[in-house]
């Protein structure tokens, strides 16, 4: 579904992402693991069009995504969530999700209000998404009044409203406590069961190992390993780069 080959990005002399190959099949739950500064977010920004690669190819369903604008990549079916959640402070939760449906509409449709009879299907879709993301009871509250645990759900809901085929999640568990993280893992599994392909960026090893069926590990911009959770866990390069340092710290 998503094919990445030889992807590189350099900032001045620094190679942030170095010759990375990835293949993500339809329906996969793919994890990208790596310590901070390993190039995960840079890779994500290239996949979603916010950064132009220095070299390499990105193909989604056979179409070349390199050089495409972020908005046309979303239209092709690649949505993303951000690590830091940002939304308009004076909009309600429902309005925030509703606004993200704009890409399904032509010029005239943009002028319709939320209760427009001609857009009942879209309104029903918003309801379904809110239900799926636990936001239904808070739908008419202002987005800024949401409890912290649900803020990231709003981010996911907004991405779902664009009707993605593949969802790229940038550290969705950052700032969450263990029980919130477990809940999030369940949610991600359910999204996947609904047929969504998901790529997850995390530095939380437990989460990625417990969730993803295929994992690529980045370090200093290079892909040092790829495989199932077990394969990655037992890879000596990964242990040296990532798990090893953690073990040492735990010892001390």
């Amino acid at each position: 579904m998503l094919e990445v080959s030889g992807l590189s990005k350099s900032f001045g002399g620094l190679l942030a992402v170095d010759n990375v190959d990835l293949g993500v099949g339809k329906g996969a739950l793919f994890g990208i693991l790596g310590p901070n500064g390993s190039g995960k977010t840079t890779l994500f920004n290239m996949l979603t069009g916010f950064l132009e690669p220095s070299a390499g190819q990105i193909r989604f369903e056979g179409r070349d995504l390199v050089g495409k604008s972020p908005e046309s990549i979303v239209r092709a079916g690649v949505a993303r969530t951000f690590q830091v959640v940002r939304f308009h402070k004076e909009s309600t939760v429902r309005e925030t999700v509703w606004a993200a449906q704009s890409l399904h509409l032509g010029f005239g449709g943009m002028f319709r209000t939320m209760k427009s009879p001609s857009q009942r299907d879209l309104a029903a879709e918003v309801d379904r998404i809110l239900e799926k993301t636990w936001l239904e009871p808070h739908a008419d509250r202002l987005a800024r009044e949401l409890p912290f645990g649900l803020v990231r759900q709003l981010e996911i809901a907004r991405a779902l409203a664009t009707r993605p085929k593949i969802l790229l999640m940038d550290e969705p568990a950052s700032g969450m406590n263990p029980s919130e993280t477990r809940q999030l893992m369940d949610d991600i599994r359910r999204l996947r069961a609904d047929g969504l392909t998901i790529i997850l960026i995390e530095h939380d090893i437990e989460m990625v190992l417990g969730l993803c069926d295929r994992i690529a590990v980045l370090n200093f911009g290079r892909k040092i390993a790829e495989g199932s959770a077990d394969e990655v866990k037992n890879n000596s390069d990964v242990i040296a780069a990532y798990l090893g340092t953690k073990k040492k710290r735990a010892h001390a």
Partner: protein, 311 residues
């Protein structure tokens, strides 16, 4: 009475100017150049009635389109920039436009008139005189005030409707964060340019109305000061909803006039009021929270609508 009709027309013109700022303000773009589009609209509108023999309606519409065209000229290259570059570009354009208008000379000699006052059309620094459409067609100041406020009503209703549509939510998303807006598939630059062009159109209409009200305009009428006042209507009235520009422009046009009896103290009072509003209501006099409360109060008082239930 005619004095107050003129104040009413000026208030309407200022309300339009406030909405011209608000259009791009919604997407987070602060323009201090609206006076340029106002001036272009004034010169184009006046030229059409005085020199072209067109009627007022066509002249005002043409003023609007000229304002929109001028705003596209500034907006297309600069709205792709981030941060304050756009604002600075609008200031620069407004100042350049003032100089251009100040030096414009075209038209034809008048058949009658005193020596030194025999030119129809803009006459350089002397300005553009004899915009006598209202007088020629015996439109009273009262009738003109009605015309102006009808146009204001159309614009207010348009903003009221847009505010309830996805367009407003998207402009507000752009205001909050352009990266997020792009991540939900919004072509950000296109929205910003379109909003700015709508603002330019409204400013152009406002300028054409102004020219016909005053009958005499010159480049020096269109100084940056007017733009900053228009921005103040929005910021002090409240930039979160479409009610802010309306209330802001009305209060800050009518109040200084009613305070004339206290003479120069009114300037101080005016300044004090601005400081107080900014201190105690940083979101402006009319905030989004206030509009929501009123909306709830109105629907519950009317009692006509039962509480909303999920279908």
């Amino acid at each position: 009475m005619s004095y107050w009709f003129t104040i009413a027309s000026l208030t309407g013109i200022n309300v339009l100017l406030a909405y011209s700022v608000y259009a791009s303000f919604m997407s987070g773009q602060v323009s201090i150049g609206q006076v340029a589009f106002f001036g272009v609209g004034a010169y184009v509108g006046a030229s059409l009635t005085v020199l072209g023999g067109f009627d007022l309606a066509s002249a005002v519409m043409a003023g609007g389109f000229a304002g929109a065209a001028a705003s596209l000229f500034v907006g297309v290259p600069t709205l792709r920039l981030k941060g304050y570059h756009f604002t600075i570009a609008t200031v620069a354009f407004a100042e350049a436009m003032r100089v251009v208008l100040h030096n414009l000379k075209y038209g034809r000699p008048r058949s009658s008139g005193n020596v030194g006052d025999q030119w129809l059309g803009p006459d350089g620094a002397t300005g553009f005189r004899h915009i006598s459409y209202l007088n020629d067609h015996s439109i009273s100041t009262g009738q003109y005030a009605v015309i102006v406020w009808l146009i204001v009503a159309v614009v207010v209703v348009a903003f009221f409707l847009v505010e309830r549509s996805r367009i407003a939510r998207i402009l507000r998303t752009i205001e909050e964060d352009e990266v997020v807006a792009r991540s939900i598939g919004v072509p950000v630059a296109r929205y910003k340019v379109a909003a700015f062009a709508c603002g330019g159109f409204i400013a152009g209409i406002s300028g054409a109305l102004y020219a016909h009200l005053l009958t005499f305009i010159s480049g020096n009428d269109f100084i940056i000061h007017l733009s900053t006042i228009a921005l103040a209507y929005v910021v002090i009235g409240g930039g979160q909803t479409m009610w802010g520009p309306l209330i802001g422009a009305i209060i800050f046009t009518v109040l200084p006039e009613t305070l004339r009896p206290i003479r120069e103290f009114r300037i101080e009072l005016f300044g004090l009021l601005i400081i107080l509003v900014m201190l105690f209501r940083p979101a402006g006099m009319i905030s989004a929270a206030m509009v929501r409360r009123w909306g709830v109060a109105l629907t519950s008082k009317a009692g006509a609508k039962p509480p909303r239930k999920a279908p």
